[in-house]
Symmetry: C2
């Protein structure tokens, strides 16, 4: 009797290199209006969400991405009381924001309602804040939303998929201009910004943000299911990612983070010289 | 006519997860006295060295590992004039040490002479310092060498493979005791210490080092071909990895590093709370 077969998920990060995860059970697979949505279970990572066959989140390491895209702007914004999240249909980013009693209002704009429904079903620990009365969920196009939006927020977070398909416009200068319009004075924007070493997404995002905001920054988190190293951009006209870290608020709140800390807040902005050069010289 | 086939290298980092690299050409494959030594070429990473089917180094990202295992102790040791390297047969670590005119003597103890020969042939930019008159190469067992060694060095670097097969003894307390015996006052030890998040190697190494040295530290570098995040241990009885960074020497030398910098030296020791907890509570 032979061993039974194996289903292996592979995600390429370049033409000939990437990561693999063996699939225990394929739990969900459906083409939504926008993309292929799949959920599988695995021994190492627990449940894994794929959008168009790219890893979006996993049970085991989601805390890294969600803490880092959220707590960095929370402790840097002048008065973090309201937030707009574009994308983020899994609910992890709004969960992190709504941990804070200071947060009075959070608007989530996710283009694909199926993502929200799938995450409520399969990732209840991530999609755990959808009933919070402070949360306003809009199933809508984020690009259109920020263009037409007349409200202002203290934090704007672009928690998108990669700049292909539905998320393509979320890395453009025009979009960042509209996001800036949605920010209060003292406000801060963060965006997921791609596989830093292997693609140009980081450079494109950083360059376009730098045109729109006075202070642009780039920071890292170690996310193994994204290939090991993930990048985020930071932008603000008034707040500096490092000098304006609100140490008093951080100490008072004394939260129990798993990845984020004061030390990580400062360290994550340290860029190796080869990468800093790539970022700064891109497009010149 | 069908497309031709493909040879894909996969390295598991857990039972069901890891990285893959497609092989362009298999350049070398031979069982040495100690291990299976292979070299292949790939589009993304250039030439790749495997020992017992684990990635040891690649043309494209070797600078990250070699700068980080070497420059951290160089700028922290009291008087960095001599170094002992255990393992490191590819030559990258001694290349980094011998970049410094301050280095008067470097001893390399590699158990597997075939690794040195293969790297001289296939990785000439890594194995470029074997003719330096300051270098003393011994093809010998590092464990035996440090046990019997009566000389002292300012820096000891354990540039080994993972703690299986020939490198197993290089993570034990007894070995670290012998390494300490080889250190001058003001000396510093660094060791490669495994895939930090996925294995217990980091914890074992850190715990054993902490028993032997007054100051033990743990630091990270982002090495995608090792799965994304790699760990190193730092140990010294007199020098602190952070407070004793020699800023004056660093500024005077003004070297052109690609990954290492003063900023990285400080940032790489920032550990996420979940990992610090794992390190500190291991074995308790």
């Amino acid at each position: 009797m032979l061993d039974s077969g194996k289903i292996r998920f592979l995600e390429k990060h370049t033409e000939d290199y990437g990561i693999f995860i063996d699939i225990d059970e394929l739990l969900y697979c459906k083409k939504s209006k926008y993309q292929l949505v799949e959920v599988f279970s695995s021994k190492t990572w627990g449940k894994v969400l794929l959008l168009d066959r790219n890893v979006m989140t996993t049970d085991r390491d989601e805390f890294i991405y969600h803490e880092m895209i959220t707590q960095i702007p929370f402790y840097t914004a002048l008065k973090p009381e309201s937030a707009l999240v574009i994308g983020g249909g899994d609910g992890g980013t709004v969960r992190e924001l709504l941990k804070h009693k200071e947060m009075k209002k959070v608007t989530l704009v996710e283009i694909d309602g199926d993502v929200i429904d799938v995450c409520k079903e399969f990732f209840p620990k991530i999609a755990c804040s959808f009933d919070d009365p402070r949360l306003d969920v809009r199933v809508d196009d984020g690009i259109k939303f920020v263009k037409e939006c007349s409200e202002k927020y203290d934090i704007v977070i672009i928690d998108s998929s990669d700049p292909f398909g539905p998320a393509e416009g979320l890395f453009r200068e025009e979009f960042y201009q509209n996001c800036k319009k949605c920010l209060n004075t003292g406000g801060v924007l963060t965006c997921q910004a791609g596989n830093a070493y292997m693609t140009d997404e980081a450079c494109i995002a950083y360059k376009n943000l730098s045109k729109v905001f006075k202070n642009a920054g780039y920071y890292f988190a170690n996310i193994l299911t994204y290939g090991g190293l993930w990048g985020f951009t930071f932008a603000s006209d008034t707040r500096h990612y490092f000098d304006d870290f609100d140490k008093k608020l951080y100490n008072e709140k004394n939260m129990d983070y798993k990845y984020y800390s004061e030390e990580i807040h400062k360290a994550c902005f340290a860029l190796p010289p080869f990468f800093r050069k790539k970022l700064e010289e891109y497009g010149k």
